[in-house]
């Protein structure tokens, strides 16, 4: 057994009752533990482009590019990734265009900044060309014959050699400061560059294959506006859709002088709000799809006289035109309940090809299919066959290989996780009966005795059954292949019951795609899913937010657990709620399609007290400062406790933070403004407001110092950290504008400013971890040009003002604030702290490194009491001497070699074992593992030598008996003397 590595830095020994308290920096895992309790799922994000691989393994792979800056190749037989390239973060990595034909796979990224040619088989980059990039962000790429790639950016067109990437020529585009160039098209021996000037004209620049501008013409188009969509079809026709008067404008690129207008009504199509166009690339004829609704499309043919309706496709949600051997076929998909109907038409004759017709079982939770990508081939008996991939509304990708069946699916919505909760699994049936016994106090002794008797009988029965099953061998699972293909899981999952240490959970994931998943923590398989096409995240502050509340945990048997998703309705912006049982996924209290409220939600909070059925109500605040309780039955709790229910709202636009208290008003509850803090919008913007976990368990009320006195912690549950970022102009000779960061610690009940600190020449993005009595945050130090970590710890002092209760109104006004900062040698994308059941275990902070690792460092390294000069007293206290750099060692990386890209967040959750904390990192990838910040102190290790220990015990037992016998004999013989 090879060890990956394990390092333990035994810090200073704290002398307490003979127990050595050691400080483990990390505990890496053994090679054979890989994948035992961790899993990793790789996603690509919402797919924007999809091609069947035409290179050496034609038909075996699908090449995809996504809006999450990913280029990947997917095996068509099982949906696994052959390779995946995650391009740069931010606008530099955005994929503008992916081009695939034959062996050529070229991407244009970052608004024309980079042209890269990839090897479709291995995913390696063959060459890369860096171009100046486009100011408008619009860039286009076309292939002209075998020897030329043309790239258009805002002010120039470049000709590149596809084999080497060498630049053959470049040509500047005229009037590039007035015209926005949007499209590049090749037809015959000419390249056409289309530019738009809003409200004025369309500019057409003709460039030949040698890079010489042949002509520049402009065509009047006074109707051109921001909302106009334009596409260029094969055959060289520019088509624009005007949403103002629902008309299509067409222009033939080669010789057209004026736009020809065709109204949708003339074509016999019903205009709607969401009209879009989808180009047809695989045939030479000028065809284009027009989509007027999610399930209504039309195939249009563009002629010199304007637009002609080739085929109206009512109730069709996805369509594609494919050609094979000079024969063009139209594939259409129609969604009917539980199934998809695929019909194929011959484009020339318009007749249906019955032998390709098929129906495919399709789950309703994928929404409408949006795109299909068909691969046609001839079977051995020369009949036509096809396989196709379906992209649906819920970002999923599904593959049909054999007629009628979905072979696999990829849930790309899981790359957009916004909220996570881990829910305890319910106890087994027997355990539940026990709980039942203690749950009800109304029974008399006789019934309780009978209950106990029955449970124990049934326990005995299951025990015997288990033993019998063990004897019979592995139990046989009922394999339902049909159901498996539908649900996509290919394993025999056990029942959802709690394990011995409550380590396995059900992870509820709420995604920005409007899909909610229940995922097993053991293997990452999807247990249930719900899709709400109308659910959208709150996106007020440039950050998407979907809220997930756990209203009742699994602990309150027989009441089922309950979770609620709070978001907004896509169309109206009103509140959208969906409440469900997280274990089974069944809706509770709200309809299965979700509940749309009749008001907007400005802020949410949870009630402090539970109702009679252990349900924690959600408070929803509307723009009129009225408070709504969900579910309605929790209103009685608010009636009782409204006096202790407060709320605050930070407004980024105005820089104000307002605190509210609850007041009853004619049977309703209103929020009354009681305090306001002005954070000076002119100078800075509120970027983050971070509170503590509402139900955080803090075990220790203080900290033991070297002289064995106690420094009591300032554990204000209502404390929030408000981060603002701003700029200031330096007054010194050099001058210049620098960024500044302010941190405010605010009591959210009273509005009392507990602490404030400011970092000059520091820049975000800032991640804040706020837990117990400490705050850890990071910032970029512009002066030293490095990432720094700062920590604040708050203490009441050596005396505790009130040891039984904490009220914000009588709390110590100025707690003792200790702070220190450190150098973080690596860049991080986010961080989180571990959480354990009772909060006894020391904490770790988990950093998601930009390099792809998850680094777990003990909180003791980020401790403001780390002394510069270690003394006897600090050694007693167990603090590590101050070293500015935080150590990064390979063993502290908990995801070993499984790199994670674009980590958006880390969710930690307690397990049943106090030593263990469960970690889920989400972003482009999902990675689940468990950490033991103080090592596994409550369970024997897996490599515990049971054999050795029992052998020693047995040996000692034998020796005891033998020596007893011997000594008895000796005593006897001595007595005889």
């Amino acid at each position: 057994m090879k060890k990956f590595g394990r390092s333990m830095m035994t810090g200073n020994i704290l002398l307490l009752l003979g127990v050595l308290q050691t400080l483990p920096i990390s505990q890496a895992l053994y090679e054979d533990q890989i994948g035992k309790f961790d899993w990793h799922q790789q996603y690509v994000g919402k797919i924007t482009d999809m091609f069947w691989d035409q290179s050496f393994n034609a038909g075996k792979r699908v090449l995809v590019s996504s809006e999450r800056h990913v280029l990947a190749s997917v095996h068509s037989h099982n949906g696994s990734l052959a390779w995946r390239k995650v391009l740069e973060d931010g606008p530099r990595g955005r994929i503008d265009k992916t081009l695939h034909s034959g062996n050529l796979l070229v991407t244009l990224t970052g608004g024309g900044r980079f042209v890269r040619k990839w090897n479709a088989g291995s995913g390696l980059a063959d060459w890369e060309v860096s171009l100046p990039g486009s100011k408008s962000g619009r860039a286009d790429l076309v292939q002209c014959g075998r020897d030329l790639l043309a790239v258009m950016i805002q002010d120039a067109v470049y000709g590149l050699d596809p084999r080497s990437g060498r630049q053959k020529w470049s040509v500047a585009l005229p009037q590039s400061n007035q015209v926005v160039y949007t499209h590049l098209f090749t037809s015959g021996t000419n390249l056409f560059v289309i530019g738009q000037s809003l409200g004025q004209q369309v500019t057409r620049v003709t460039v030949d294959m040698e890079g010489v501008v042949r002509s520049t013409e402009s065509v009047k188009a006074p109707w051109l506006s921001e909302s106009t969509q334009c596409e260029v079809t094969n055959g060289g026709v520019l088509i624009c859709y005007r949403s103002e008067d629902q008309s299509l404008q067409t222009l033939t690129l080669t010789d057209g002088q004026v736009f020809k207008s065709t109204s949708l009504q003339i074509l016999g199509l019903e205009p709607s709000e969401e009209v879009s166009m989808e180009t047809v690339r695989k045939v030479e004829e000028p065809l284009i799809f027009l989509r007027t609704a999610k399930n209504h499309m039309a195939l249009l043919e563009l002629t010199n006289d304007g637009v002609k309706l080739k085929k109206d496709l009512p109730s069709i949600c996805a369509a594609q035109v494919v050609s094979l051997d000079d024969k063009s076929m139209l594939f259409t998909l129609e969604r009917i309940p539980g199934e998809l109907k695929m019909k194929v038409y011959d484009l020339e004759t318009g007749s249906e090809m019955a032998d390709l017709y098929q129906t495919i079982t399709y789950l309703p939770q994928h929404g409408y299919p949006q795109r299909i990508e068909v691969l046609m081939f001839k079977k051995r008996d020369l009949r036509l066959g096809c396989r196709f991939a379906i992209l649906s509304e819920d970002y999923s990708m599904q593959m049909v290989l054999k007629a009628g069946k979905i072979a696999w699916r990829r849930e790309e919505a899981l790359a957009y996780v916004l909220s996570v909760e881990m829910i305890d699994l319910p106890v087994s049936e027997n355990q539940a009966k026990y709980e039942d016994e203690f749950g009800s106090h109304k029974d008399d002794i006789a019934t309780m005795f009978m209950k106990r008797f029955k449970t124990q009988i049934s326990q005995l029965k299951t025990y015997i059954q288990q033993q019998l099953q063990k004897l019979q061998g592995h139990r046989h699972h009922h394999h339902d292949t049909e159901a498996m293909a539908e649900s996509g899981s290919d394993d025999d999952d056990e029942d959802l019951t709690r394990d011995e240490f409550n380590l396995n959970k059900l992870i509820v994931l709420v995604t920005g795609a409007g899909k909610v998943f229940g995922v097993r923590s053991t293997n990452g398989h999807i247990e249930w899913e719900h899709f709400f096409p109308e659910l959208a995240p709150f996106d007020g502050n440039n950050q998407q937010k979907l809220l997930l509340f756990v209203q009742r945990t699994t602990a309150h048997f027989p009441n089922p657990p309950q979770c609620t998703v709070v978001g907004k309705h896509k169309g109206t912006g009103n509140g959208f709620l969906f409440s469900f049982n997280p274990i089974s996924g069944e809706p509770v209290d709200t309809p299965p399609t979700g509940q749309v409220l009749n008001y907007r939600i400005t802020q949410t909070s949870m009630l402090g007290e539970l109702d009679d059925h252990f349900l924690r109500g959600i408070l929803l605040m509307d723009p009129d400062n009225q408070i709504h309780v969900f579910p309605g039955k929790c209103l009685s709790v608010l009636k009782k406790t409204f006096g202790s229910q407060y709320m605050f709202v930070a407004d980024r636009e105005t820089g104000f933070i307002k605190g509210y208290r609850t007041v009853p008003n004619q049977g309703k509850f209103l929020m009354e403004n009681v305090w306001t803090v002005n954070l000076q919008k002119k100078q800075q913007t509120i970027t983050q407001v971070v509170g503590k976990r509402p139900l955080e368990q803090v075990h220790s009320q203080g900290r033991v110092l070297g002289d064995r006195s106690v420094l009591y912690r300032y554990l204000n549950p209502n404390l929030v950290v408000v981060v603002t970022e701003g700029e200031f102009i330096e007054q010194s000779q050099r001058g210049g504008v620098f960024n500044t960061i302010n941190l405010y610690l605010l009591d959210s009940v009273t509005g009392h400013m507990v602490f404030h600190c400011s970092h000059k020449r520091a820049k975000g993005p800032i991640t804040v971890v706020h837990s117990e009595n400490w705050v850890v945050y990071n910032y970029f130090n512009q002066k030293s040009r490095r990432l720094e970590m700062a920590v604040l710890e708050l203490y009441e002092g050596k005396e505790q003002s009130n040891s039984t209760a904490f009220s914000s109104f009588s709390s110590p006004r100025q707690p003792l604030v200790l702070r220190q900062s450190y150098i973080m040698p690596l860049f991080i994308s986010t961080m989180a702290t571990t959480v354990t059941e009772k909060g006894i275990t020391s904490k770790q902070i988990i950093f998601a490194l930009k390099l792809g690792g998850l680094l777990a460092l003990p909180k003791a390294l980020l401790d403001p009491r780390r002394p510069l000069v270690p003394t006897q007293e600090t050694m007693e206290e167990g603090t590590i001497p101050y070293i500015p750099e935080l150590p990064v060692n390979a063993e502290a990386i908990i995801n070993y070699n499984q790199s994670l890209y674009n980590v958006q967040g880390i969710h930690t959750s307690p397990a049943g074992l106090e030593s263990t904390s469960l970690v889920l990192s989400y972003g482009l990838d999902l990675y689940f593992t468990r950490v033991q910040p103080s090592k596994m102190f409550d369970v024997l290790k897996e490599d515990f030598d049971y054999f050795f220990i029992s052998a020693v015990l047995l040996g000692m037992f034998v020796v005891t008996i033998a020596t007893q016998k011997l000594s008895a004999r000796r005593a006897l013989s001595r007595a005889w003397k």
Binding site: L15, G540, T604, L607, M647, F648, V649, G702, V704
Partner: protein, 174 residues
């Protein structure tokens, strides 16, 4: 069986076989002393040494009474040797230091039986006092080693978390 033995005590077995040890003793006691043997020698010694005996008893009692106090310097030495670190040997030593006086207190009845003479009360008092001092010494050792829960920090783990009086929630405007 016992009734049988009792029967043997008062009966003479003429057969001679199967005699038990006790029977023999019974017989030995029954037989008179031989001629010329006097039993008075013991009493003569007793009479002559009565005063010295009392002294011896006192001396022995004082030995017992002062025993614990005499151990104190030794204990000090052990304490000094053991040091203040917490490891297996100092803990064993401290344990012994506790164990001895406590054991002495438990078996104080037996010890007091042995203490006789005129100064018995003082001796008993001194004996108890000595053990008490030993115990205090052990306590002092614990104190210096930091094993006594005399600081607030020792009770920290038993403190309940503070009850939350107000509930607040919120954040950035959605």
């Amino acid at each position: 069986m016992s009734s049988k033995r009792k029967l043997h005590k008062w009966s003479i077995d003429f057969s001679g076989h199967g005699r038990s040890k006790s029977d023999r003793q019974v017989q030995v006691q029954d037989i008179r002393a031989p001629v010329g043997y006097t039993e008075s020698t013991g009493t003569i010694v007793e009479q002559s040494g009565k005063e010295a005996d009392q002294k011896l008893i006192d001396k022995r009692s004082w030995d017992i009474a002062l025993g614990p106090l005499k151990q104190i310097p030794m204990n000090f030495f052990i304490m000094w040797m053991a040091g203040n670190s917490i490891s297996i040997f100092p803990i064993m030593m401290v344990g012994m230091m506790f164990f001895k006086p406590i054991q002495a207190f438990i078996s104080v009845q037996n010890t007091f039986v042995m203490i006789e003479g005129s100064q018995a009360i003082i001796q008993k008092f001194i004996y108890i006092f000595g053990n008490f001092v030993c115990l205090m010494l052990a306590m002092y050792k614990c104190q210096t080693m930091g094993l006594l829960p005399t600081h607030a920090s020792d009770w920290l783990a038993f403190m309940d978390p503070q009850k939350r009086m107000e509930w607040s929630g919120g954040g950035l405007y959605y």
